[in-house]
């Protein structure tokens, strides 16, 4: 009987001492962020949606090869000899015409390995994170700006063989 009341007493005492610690937080300011109105400032290295500056892309397909989830699809063809040469902004000659550059952001695992594989630093991860869509197919982003000249011009496809 004595143990019973002692247990109750100790239980109450321990709650009171806990409440004393927790009670200090009554006077601290609130930290809630009213999300759609206020936004958290993201650090500059944030890895969110992928973006390709297609004018600098040389179509080498290194990103597609380094991707662990195979979410990047690159299709290229060789430019003809008679065509005027095209250069990326850092002076690299664009020998291949990239006519398909699709990134499926629904498959992307946001590891950032492709951005390090890119030789011209045209593939970057932006800080953009509000891009929810209603249809899964809308997560496929098409970056290619050029059209293929030859129908049989698919010199390289993703995933590469071997």
């Amino acid at each position: 009987m004595l143990t019973y009341f002692r247990n109750i007493g100790q239980g109450i005492m321990t709650i009171v001492s806990s409440m004393a610690i927790a009670g200090r937080h009554l006077f601290t300011p609130s930290v809630t962020l009213q999300y759609p109105k206020e936004k958290w400032l993201l650090p500059e290295r944030s890895r969110m949606r992928l973006m390709n500056k297609i004018e600098d892309c040389i179509g080498c397909g290194q990103c597609a090869r380094s991707c662990p989830t195979e979410c990047i699809l690159v299709k290229t063809e060789k430019r003809g000899k008679e065509e005027a040469p095209v250069f990326a902004s850092d002076g690299t000659a664009k020998k291949l015409r990239t006519y398909v550059f699709d990134i499926d952001m629904a498959l992307c695992c946001y590891c950032g390995l492709c951005t390090f594989a890119c030789p011209t630093q045209c593939l970057i991860m932006t800080g953009e994170y509000e891009y929810s869509v209603y249809d899964k197919d809308e997560h496929i982003y098409h970056f290619a700006a050029e059209k293929p000249l030859t129908v049989a011009g698919e010199s390289r496809q993703n995933p590469p063989e071997g």
Binding site: G11, T14, I21, P43, R45, S46, R47, P68, G112
Partner: protein, 373 residues
């Protein structure tokens, strides 16, 4: 007149969507009234074919997948993997990489143990410690986000180096956080660990004796909670852990017999303090250097087999890597600490009350992503 008091055995399914199973785990409880006669864990609800899948991914691409095994301590998961590949390839990293890896791994350990303590309190029935633990974990995740760009699945440890160097000034912020955090641990103790009701719910419940723990191959805080002083960081040091001063806390059995749920919980709280010590020492040892100095252009290990074990927050994490000299792993086997402790669950929970099953399961601190892989 003889009366048979053993009632009918009733089967009770706990999970897979039970909040205290920490993931999708089904426990098939055979209950005799309020007493658990047998508890059979059924795993596999989160199976993603990790080990088979990585045979089709190149070595650098495996790191994001290792993150997804134990998502509460992703830094430690990828650390174990990159150390395995580096051991096979014979890569030596410089001092800055070693120190940064230790800082990140120990901060990750603190964050993981905070989840363990917070959710355990939540399971037992106190909600405030959960929020407090997550508040402090948030600061650690901010450090990780600032350094690697991701909050949970970092891909920060690379084979032969690190993804990024830390931002200038982050060392001071980390030390500032540790200075703030160490007294907070005492607050948490006053709030939860020494709480009379919490002790009543956990002490003397789910006793895992040292002999049982060793025979089941239980590692990490669960083994140390049973009073066995074993830590891979001390037994088989990696990354230069032998030069660091830290204690290995073990369960002392202040409340009831050694190896109870309270002991396992308390080992984690004490380990957090030891991790703070290690972070302080590692920050003091930082020297300038290039973090991507030893990253190979092409990761093609020689044919061979290597096993490497590291101490992740949940115990001993081992990777067995078999390479056939190609660009992709031939076989990668993971020895997961949560899986081994799950095998001991059946014996520990036999004879416990139904309400104590929650308490036992929470004290094991399992992550289903790692059990099922």
């Amino acid at each position: 007149m003889e009366v048979d008091y053993s009632g009918d055995i009733m089967t009770l399914n706990m999970g897979p969507q039970h909040p205290s199973t920490h993931g999708v785990l089904r426990l098939e409880l055979k209950t005799d009234g309020e007493i658990v006669a047998d508890a059979v864990p059924h795993i596999g609800y989160l199976h993603r074919c990790f080990e088979k899948h990585v045979e089709n991914v190149d070595y650098a691409g495996v790191v994001p997948f290792t993150d997804r095994m134990d998502y509460c301590a992703a830094m430690n998961m990828e650390l174990g993997y990159v150390l395995t590949v580096e051991k096979l390839m014979g890569i030596e990293v410089n001092n800055r990489v070693r120190c940064l890896r230790i800082i990140m791994a120990e901060l990750s350990r603190i964050a993981s143990h905070l989840i363990a303590a917070g959710t355990y309190g939540n399971d037992i029935g106190s909600f405030t410690p959960f929020l407090w633990c997550f508040r402090d974990r948030e600061t650690i995740l901010d450090f990780f986000e600032e350094t690697s760009g991701a909050r949970l699945l970092y891909n920060y440890n690379w084979i032969g180096g690190l993804m990024h160097d830390i931002k200038p000034g982050l060392e001071e912020k980390i030390i500032e956080f540790i200075d703030y955090f160490e007294p907070e641990v005492d607050n948490l103790n006053r709030l939860l660990s020494d709480n009379f009701i919490f002790i009543k719910r956990t002490a003397g419940v789910g006793i895992l004796s040292p002999e049982q723990a060793v025979s089941y191959g239980v590692t990490g805080p669960n083994l140390r909670g049973s009073g066995v002083k074993f830590d891979v960081r001390r037994e088989e040091p990696y990354l230069g852990y032998e030069d660091y001063e830290f204690d290995i806390p073990v369960g002392l059995g202040e409340h009831g017999p050694v190896g109870s749920c309270w002991d396992r919980y308390m080992v984690r709280i004490r380990e957090v303090k030891e991790s703070c010590k290690i972070v302080r020492q590692a920050v003091a040892r930082l020297t300038p250097g290039d973090v991507r100095e030893a990253v190979p252009k092409r990761i093609k290990p020689p044919a061979g087999e290597v096993y490497m074990r590291t101490e992740c927050p949940r115990g001993e994490l081992g990777y067995l890597l078999v390479s056939d000299g190609s660009l992709k792993p031939y076989r990668l086997k993971v020895k997961s600490p949560c899986f081994t402790v799950m095998s001991a669950f059946r014996e520990v929970s036999r004879g416990a009350m139904i309400a104590d099953v929650v308490s036992i399961l929470g004290s094991f601190d399992i992550v289903l992503g790692e059990i099922d892989r």
